[in-house]
Structures are given as C-alpha cells and as structure tokens.
Symmetry: C2
Subunit: 255 residues, 2 copies
C-alpha cells in the first residue's frame, strides 16, 4: 500500500486481542481512520485514529464513507468482527465499488485481510464439530427471501453438511430458528447434536450449550449466538473432568 489513501477491510476476530492477527494489528496501527460498527471499533486499542462508528445496518453507506475518506488521502481500516469475508464488510465494500458508475473510487487501493471467524471460535471452544464438510448460512431475511433460507437449509441437511447458522435470532426474527431446526429435523434424527455458542471466547459473557435437534430450545439464541447443527455422524464426548467435547469424524460411511 502506498503513502496515498487506501481502504483495508479487516476483522478483529470475534473476541479479545488473543485472536487478532499481527497483520491486522499492523494495519490498525498504520490507519488514520477506522470505520465500523461501534462495538467492533471498541475492540481496537489506541486513540490516535479518527473513529467513524456507525450502527449495524447500512453497510453500503458505511463502505461508501470509507471509500470517500480514502479517495481524500486517508488510510482507512474498515473494521468487522470475526472475518471480514464471512457475513461482514468485505462484500459490502466491493459492492460499493461495483456500483461506482462515475469511477470516483476507481483508483482507491482496496485490500481484504482475513481474521478468525465466529464459526471457528465457536467450533474450537467445544472441540471440532466442523471436522468434516460444512456450510455457513445466515438466517437473516433482510437480504434474501425466507423461502430461499429454508430451501438452502434443507439441501444442506440432505448433503450432510454440518451447519453454522449466523444471525439465528433477534427481536425482529423470533421464530426463524425454530422453523429451521424443524426443517433439519425432517432430514436428520432427533439425537443429532446441536450447539448454541453465545459470545464464544468473550470471558464471562460466553455461554455454550450442547443439545440435540429434538431438544434444542430456540429461545436460547440471541443476536450474539452462533448455532452449529451437526450431522448424524457428529459425536459428543464426555471427558474425565465432566466436560464435553463435540466432533464430526473425518470419515463418512455410505454414499
């Protein structure tokens, strides 16, 4: 990146500095301006950079704001939690560029830098539930019709992909997770393991629950929850200290 303005889309990881990569730490250090959702900006130490906090919506406006700052010579870090390429600002910044019919951002250098995603953090805290083929599906119907969410989830279950369900619940989305677990339950047996991982890795806030498709209480999920739904082969392992770990074996039967 040159001395001129740039936009670097980065992820802080889903919790504290222990999951922030050295690459991203360096970019944050060199940035003059930080753009992002307020709580993610709070994860960034230092007071030298100008902070442009916004709310969790209007990603395209936020992206355009970052590109405008860079076009004016600023070094801008667009800050996502987790990985910026997974349901985060990466696609929003590129979409803003794509819509730039007048070409005002044509010369702005834009790079994307990976981070630990929420799905990896949640999985690691309980073992290796994603140990075989898996998928990540957002249950938000802000940007796609609900019928498509249901269709994807059903096909993913038929494909025996372990599922990481993003945005499983919010005040505006009270019933969707229950419906999705029902759809999966039409494909997989009731004993299939399900994990609710709320605020994974965030100390006292963290809440991890291992349950099953048949017993999952979808009311346990909130905006900070990632839901991992296993496949019939997924196993729960009791340890000597009374704790449990979950994993999906690397090998598959049948075909």
């Amino acid at each position: 990146m040159s001395a001129e303005g740039w936009v670097a889309v980065v992820g802080t990881g889903p919790a504290g500095p222990e999951w922030l990569t050295p690459e991203v730490a360096d970019i944050l250090e060199r940035a003059t301006d930080l753009v992002g959702y307020g709580p993610y900006l709070e994860r960034v130490a230092g007071d030298r950079q100008r902070r442009h906090a916004s709310d969790n919506r209007e990603e395209l406006d936020r992206a355009g704001h970052a590109l405008d700052l860079a076009a004016a010579g600023k070094r801008v870090a667009v800050v996502s939690g987790g990985d910026p390429g997974v349901f985060a600002m990466g696609a929003a910044v590129l979409e803003a560029l794509d819509r730039d019919a007048e070409g005002r951002w044509r010369e702005v250098a834009v790079t994307v830098h990976p981070g630990v995603s929420a799905l990896q953090a949640a999985a690691a805290r309980l073992g290796a539930p994603l140990g075989n083929d898996f998928c990540a599906i957002s249950l938000s119907d802000n940007l796609k019709p609900w019928s498509l969410v249901e269709r994807r989830v059903r096909l993913a279950a038929e494909a025996e992909l372990v599922m990481a369900l993003y945005n499983p619940a919010s005040r505006a989305r009270p019933w969707q997770l229950g419906r999705v677990l029902e759809v999966i339950g039409e494909v997989h047996p009731a004993e299939t393991p399900v994990i609710f991982a709320t605020a994974a890795g965030r100390g006292d806030q963290e809440r991890l629950t291992i349950t099953t498709l048949g017993e999952a209480d979808s009311a346990r999920a909130d905006m900070r929850t990632l839901v991992l739904v296993g496949v019939p082969a997924t196993r729960v392992l009791r340890r000597g200290d009374g704790s449990s770990l979950v994993y999906t074996p690397r090998h598959c039967e049948g075909g």
Copy 2:
C-alpha cells in the same frame, strides 16, 4: 491449563507469522513438544521444543502420540496449518480420545484453538467471494466414497452455496476436480466465476487465477490449491490498476 501435561490443537494459519494469532503464539511458546506434519512445524520459530514431525497421513497415530506425551506430563501443541477445526487435526485428536476404550487419556486436558483457515486466506486475497452463504467440501476420497462427494457438490450447487473445495488434486486424484466442475456446470451457467488459489499468502509461491466454470482448467490445481467456485450472482470487478476482485453480493434474488 495446569502445570500438568496437556494437548492444545492449534493452527498456524496458512502462511507466515502475520496470520498466527497471539493465542497460538503463546501456546507454542509454553509447549514442551510439537507434533505435526513437517512443513507446518517448520512455520514455528524457536528450537526449545522437541519436534515430532510426521508425514501428512496417519492423523490418528499422530493424535495418539500427542496424547501419550501429554499423559506423561508433556505440554504438547498439535500443529495444523490453517485452522485446526477445518479438515485438520482437531477432529483426529477427538476421534483418538473417543476410541480410548481403556481410558488412558481420560484425564488429559485437550483444547482446540482457532486459526485463519486456507479458505479465508484465499478468499481475502481476491476480495470477498464467500460474501454470502458458503460451504467447504473436501474432494479427497480417502475417508468417504466418491459418490458422496459428487452428491454433496450437486446439492451444494442447487442450494446456491459458494464452494471452497479442499484437496482438489494430487497425483492420486487427477480427474476428480474436473468431474466436480462438470457436476456444478450442470447446475450453474458456464460464466460462473471460479478461483484457483495456490499457496495463498505465501509470497512468491502464491498463484491466483480467476476463471469461469466453462473455462476452468482443472490441471492448474495441485495439493497446495484451494478452489473457490462462485454462484451465478458472484461478480468479478476490474480495478483502475488492471487487477480484479471477486465478490458474492450479500443480497439474493428469488427464492
């Protein structure tokens, strides 16, 4: 983790130290023994720890060796490239524990710690191709029948999931990727973007190719390649400097 022996399953990220998390750096520092595939161990600096390098197969033996060392009081880091939970040692260590009928590893503390995965690194280098719902599927038929690979890929295409294809090719697997691209081509149009990312993030070794389903040359993939297959909505964006970025928009049409 106590002063007694433990096993920590960690990932170094897919390239250099810029993607190694502080958490994993700290664990590697505290470990007495490192167990893993040779090239991954080479990414770990220092010469204090005893290194147990093995070849890329026999994950279960390697896991058992790590657990034996920990049972004898060693602090053991099992080292994967990328993320240990994504087609790596996480599931292998838990499977070894699960098979421990005599309970000799019952009291060994085992934790898993996330890292940047190859799919995130590859995606970030070219923008945000995983910007919408996606899946990760291994094309290796060492551990599952080939018919299941084809079935999963077809269902994933029908679900319009962007696909990250692991283990696309090797000397023992020369035709599989071609067949998989054919299967996807029966669902998606020939113009659908495809990325071949070889050694993403690894300096001079890195080779990134943006092509399409219709024109993809599967012979370009080797063991170090991750193949990302888009959906019809995935877009390629030309930048002012002649480079290209790829993204999958966050919104979807239809249903």
